[in-house]
Symmetry: C2
Subunit: 764 residues, 2 copies
């Protein structure tokens, strides 16, 4: 397949899929060099043109041309503000390929951000609003000896100019995050953001290929339907080959196409199912379609297919609604894969870059590896962000990571104007068509927090009724929820200690009773070397508002003094004398806080079925953030803590508060958490606390724990000893099974009358 | 228009709408006489044929032929059980009309229940599953001199034979109620249930006419689009006339049709809006379309159109969600008509007859008049029942009664099988197309109690996602909710005193905090003369289980000893010595209980926006039921009580319990309830209790109360006097405004040590 690809354009790209193009020799193709420039009048040309990297962003091209410093350093991003309100034009000049006679040449793009016109040799060819709908234009009849293709990008869409915030994204399908968020600067990307160029169109006329299947009740046989469509495919011969993961060809079908829309049916017995990594193997089959005219191959298409069945089912315990007047039960939030109800441990994925055009397969590969390292089996792709490019889904398919995909709506009252609904329908249809093939994709969601007062949408909002309708029509076998949270699901808290009630995560989380925790955050600072990379040296310590600390979200980002939470840290530990100490304390609190939530959510299984922290990564360097991965892909220490708490099988302890004093009764409720498809064998767990001495509290002889079930054990108690030191550890050890051991770090306050007496010791 | 109608068939029917037929003189038409018979083998003919009333029901024809007693007397209904499992065939023999040459003759039906084949002269013409999709078959080419048309109805659809209950209706679009309910016997109707016959098809070729409109923001101008479609209408001339309610022609448009799908636009300035009766005038316009070929009129269509804007908006106070983890806000349940948020006082409408074929315009007229008498402004058409015939909606349009229409799903786990989804899509599409023209219709609902454990459907159920999709696609401007209750909305209680907690309606209702109460019931016995009409004399008193009392729902109908609730009545009043006393007490409790709920729901405005009791009417004579109208259309005393509590404007008092003793402190919280678009003028309310004496508690000088708002006043208190008698009255009188006066009947227990000491006196 790859040998058939023609690289007609400046950058290389992979055609792993539809619309293969046939080589016409590089000798025929002039090197294509994109240029870009801005103009304030739509109908004027740029006064200056700069070299452009495609895909990329107009901002990056301009900054490079002007030798600007990195946009992520200090407050450099503020220099980009004017760019959102001008037109940007790309142009490329190319010679007519010599061998073009009798073949078609097509301009294509997988994504242009956001509203644009396309001109060829001065003639208007195409207009589109929407960055998720691919573009294909047959240029053949318009080619001259020398050709100029121009793409003019409109100013960033804005519903109003009353405030420079996310509400401006309220009538567009452009991700809202770049309009400014509590962890994202105001910097609105524009430009060609995915594979784009010229190509020779296949001579087969194939326009679409879908592979659908249904499984029998035993999930052992797949009944496959290949839907092949194109106005000129009638009469071609087809050859279909299906290979298993070992490369053995298990299906070989051939025949003649008798219609412009041919349905080819075959069945695959004894299938290996696709599973998320913690439940089985993410088994993929290779399906190859070859179309032939006489003996000549005129088209090949390759797909990877995974067979699995996904449902969203009721959480045990949620059907019951007591008393009268009686309302409805909460909606289902338990992911059932291949008939097995599983617990989803995961995270909210945000844009890994401010400029999506620079996101590569490598970006996705590194970040999804970190997700595996965190023991996550599900990624929620948050609706304020872009819909990822194909390599992301290919990697999730291969690595066995479940994906929940929001549509690009977040925290706004998207209004049901005919214009917005038309764009949303176009964009959502494109997104569904592109992604429905991926077995890792297990859920659609209308968008983020739309049924809350800061968004103002309701069940009657036409945009969400449209998305429900489209997913029902185009992809009915995949669950859809209108937004997150739905009723019964919780978002937040986003701090270790609640601002309003003073309750620590150790208290508020065990008191919560939700079917799923689909957002919760623990802020932590970035590591020292990262801070030094973007905060000018003179601003580094002590951190202060009004510096790069603030514009990188350490201060005044969300409620209270987030995200650095200096006050709280000082309250627990006293003043930090240097940057390293401050960062160390902040990162400790972040990790320990996340451990509490993930493990408590898992203890609440099966009533609770999901725990996804806010957030996984970040699109630029923050000074402090709820993320556990620093931009571009460096884990915070919290990732290791989360990884421990998200092991499929572990010993777990519930503690009632963070800081403990000499003489207090320390208690820990013991659990064995099992999200795995295998039993935990019977054994012995020992419980110790370790400060400057070690005390064993208990040894628990526990029975076998069945697959995908937890077991609650005894509560261990001890009077806190008289120790030196600021912290101590709770250690749970399983004899002969050290990979289940868990350790928790807690604060030790030896002297209630001493200098730390102002530290609040909260009781549950 | 009416003069153009040909009555080709046995019964008369009104063609107020599409597909007018042109007279060909009765001389050409033989009298048509339908016959019906049953057969156990689908391919055999009935052994006997009986005369049939069309529309009607096969059961009624058979019973009449066999001289059976009424199906509603005693246990006679049990004799009909076998009829659900056999085939029934209708036949009609008719001569070819003489003047048919050059014209088309069509068989049509507005409804055949439920699955059927149609044959003509032995040839199979048509098959359909579904009673809500009209049938049209062109017979012209198939006519012989003498013709036999046969309609074969299949046995009642049953998902299984494990239990003879509503779960058998789980895979069909047939209303579930006839499979048995706590107020409906197991009696499954079958047959032709709406207008059906032969007709000469108009020569215009007109196939569809839709009238759509949008209103400007000020709701003063209607921009009307008439969508006229038919394969042969191109070239015809059209004349459109719009008349206001005074008969003045305000619009006159004409032109030539240039397409098979012609859109004709015009605007109507200074419109009078359609309002529910308590908020304004239900103003209707008459729209007439005339199609002409040269000078000859070939088609006329008449429509009544009401202009109004409807939205379902958030209830004030429901956006706020406290604390973390934070879930979503409750869904909106406030009806906004023409920009005004109104409180809906109404009821759940069930089938007025077991056999829908006998429901006439007169049935609807009488019952909707009773709804007006009850001061209801909204009827919820419950999903266990049929979708009413057109005259129902025409009457609601005219009388200004809002209609909430459930789709025919209720209390079942309707499964998303492809077969069921196909039937549901066909039926729902037909229902939406038929009803969307009626301004009185203000809401679609997926069905009854589907998101509760006794139904087992969830937000992921494909049937409900389909209904959302269809209503979005075909009728996006009308609200849709997936089921009732949605979150925040309450169903129940259905008894005066809760079985589990012992709380009276006086306690549980003020403690409830719902956005809408869309079902709540108070059981009461039918009146004595009604009971005597269907309960054999020997079983009348005392009522006992195992008699017609039980099969008519007085015993073991729902939980506890419902619906007669004899135990509770005895508990309050002591044993009743005769039928009249028992019925009087039961009816008193029913009426007073309903008063508490309706008025308390109204006091909770604006957080609460709706109060609909369960239920309005009933399809046969019950011995006791939550209904306030006895079959066929006789009001219970509770209707008068409800009518008092549903006056748009009234004085209202909240009392904490039903029975009071000498010396206790009686308290009443005073309110003025105003659901009207006018202010209540300032005035004085006096508060009295009246037993064998009269005590004035308070006079309240109240200020003006704004339109559609309530006002809470003081709490009046008094020590209960030493009276004789079993009951006393609380009287609220408004000086010079007696139409606002309210009276409540309560129990008086003079002697705490006496024989009634076992009566529980509950405190709130």
């Amino acid at each position: 397949m790859k040998s058939l690809i023609a690289c007609l354009f400046l950058f290389s790209f992979f055609m792993k899929d539809m619309h293969s193009v046939f080589a016409i020799g590089e000798k025929n193709i002039p090197q294509l060099a994109w240029e870009v420039g801005f103009h304030r009048d739509k109908n004027r040309k740029p006064e200056e043109w700069y070299p452009s990297a495609v895909p990329g962003a107009v901002q990056l091209d301009y900054a490079k041309a002007k030798n600007w410093g990195p946009y992520w350093y200090a407050d450099n991003w503020k220099d980009y503000g004017w760019m959102e309100d001008v037109y940007w034009s790309y142009r490329v000049v190319f010679n007519k390929p010599e061998a073009i006679t009798g073949q078609k040449i097509e301009f294509f793009s997988k994504g242009i951000d956001y509203e644009f016109d396309i001109y060829m040799n001065g003639n208007h060819l195409f207009y589109q609003e929407g960055m998720f709908t691919p573009v294909k234009i047959d240029l053949t009849e318009k080619l001259r000896d020398i050709n100029e293709l121009v793409i003019t990008i409109y100013p960033a869409p804005k519903a109003h100019n009353k405030a420079r915030d996310r509400t401006q994204a309220n009538r567009s399908a452009k991700p809202a995050v770049s309009y400014g968020w509590d962890w994202h600067p105001r910097l609105i990307p524009a430009g060609i953001w995915d594979e784009t160029g010229l190509r020779i169109v296949s001579r087969s006329g194939l326009e679409n290929m879908d592979i659908d299947y249904r499984l029998d009740d035993e999930l052992t046989t797949a009944y496959v339907t290949m839907d092949i469509a194109g106005p000129e495919i009638t009469g071609l011969l087809y050859e279909i080959s299906v290979k298993n993961q070992s490369g053995d060809e298990i299906i070989s079908e051939s025949g003649k196409i008798s219609d412009t829309n041919e349905l080819i049916h075959f069945e695959i017995p004894d299938i290996s199912l696709w599973w998320p990594w913690d439940q089985g193997e993410p088994y993929l089959y290779d399906v190859d379609l070859k179309l032939k005219k006489n003996d000549e191959t005129v088209e090949t298409v390759h797909r990877r297919v995974g067979f699995r069945k996904v449902k969203l089912v009721m959480n045990p315990g949620t059907w019951q609604v007591d008393g009268f007047p009686k309302s409805r039960s909460n909606p289902p939030m338990t992911m059932e894969i291949n008939g097995r109800q599983i617990f989803c441990r995961g995270t909210n994925w945000v844009n890994p870059e401010i400029f999506p055009g620079v996101i590569s397969r490598q970006t996705y590969d590194t970040l999804t590896d970190l997700a595996l390292k965190a023991n996550f089996n599900l990624l929620r792709i948050w609706g304020g962000a872009i819909v990822n490019k194909d390599p992301f889904f290919e990697l999730c398919d291969e690595k066995g990571i479940l994906v929940w995909q929001d549509f690009p709506l977040a925290c706004n009252p998207y209004e049901g104007t005919p214009e917005y609904l038309a764009v949303l329908e176009q964009e959502a249809t494109s997104i569904i068509h592109r992604l429905k093939r991926y077995p890792s994709l297990v859920m659609w969601c209308g968008g983020n927090e739309l049924y809350n007062n800061w968004s103002g949408m309701t069940d009657q909002s036409l945009a969400l009724r449209l998305l429900n309708s489209l997913t029902y029509r185009l992809d009915p076998d995949r669950p859809f929820i209108p937004t997150s949270p739905v009723m019964g699901v919780g978002h937040g808290n986003y701090v270790f200690r609640d601002m309003a009630t003073g309750k620590e995560v150790f208290q508020w989380m065990p008191q919560a009773h939700n079917t799923a925790y689909t957002e919760f955050g623990m802020p932590g600072p970035s590591s020292v070397e990262v801070l030094k990379s973007f905060i000018p040296a003179g601003q580094l310590f002590p951190p202060k508002p009004g510096t790069a600390w603030e514009t990188h979200h350490a201060y005044k980002a969300w409620v209270g003094n987030t995200w650095l939470c200096e006050d709280m840290l000082e309250n627990y530990f006293g003043r930090s004398g240097d940057l390293e100490t401050l960062v160390g304390r902040g990162q400790l609190v972040q990790g320990q806080g996340y451990k509490v939530i993930y493990e408590e959510a898992r203890r609440q299984k099966p009533y609770c079925s999901m725990a996804l922290n806010w957030c996984f990564n970040e699109p630029w360097p923050t000074a402090a953030n709820n993320s556990i991965v620093m931009w571009p892909a460096r884990p915070k220490p919290a990732l290791d803590a989360v990884s421990e708490s998200c092991r499929p099988v572990l010993a777990s302890g519930r503690v009632s508060k963070f800081s403990w004093r000499k003489g207090e009764e320390f208690t820990v409720d013991l659990f064995l958490l099992n999200d795995s498809p295998g039993n935990i064998p019977a054994g012995v767990m020992s419980v110790k606390i370790i400060g400057d001495g070690e005390v064993e509290l208990l040894r628990w002889d526990f029975p076998e724990v069945p697959a995908n079930q937890n077991l609650q054990g005894p509560t261990a108690r001890v009077k806190m000893p008289d120790w030196e030191g600021e912290i101590f550890e709770l250690l749970l050890e399983v004899d002969n099974n050290p990979q289940m051991n868990s350790v928790y770090t807690l604060l030790y306050l030896p002297d209630p009358a001493g200098e730390k007496s102002s530290v609040p010791v909260l009781n549950d």
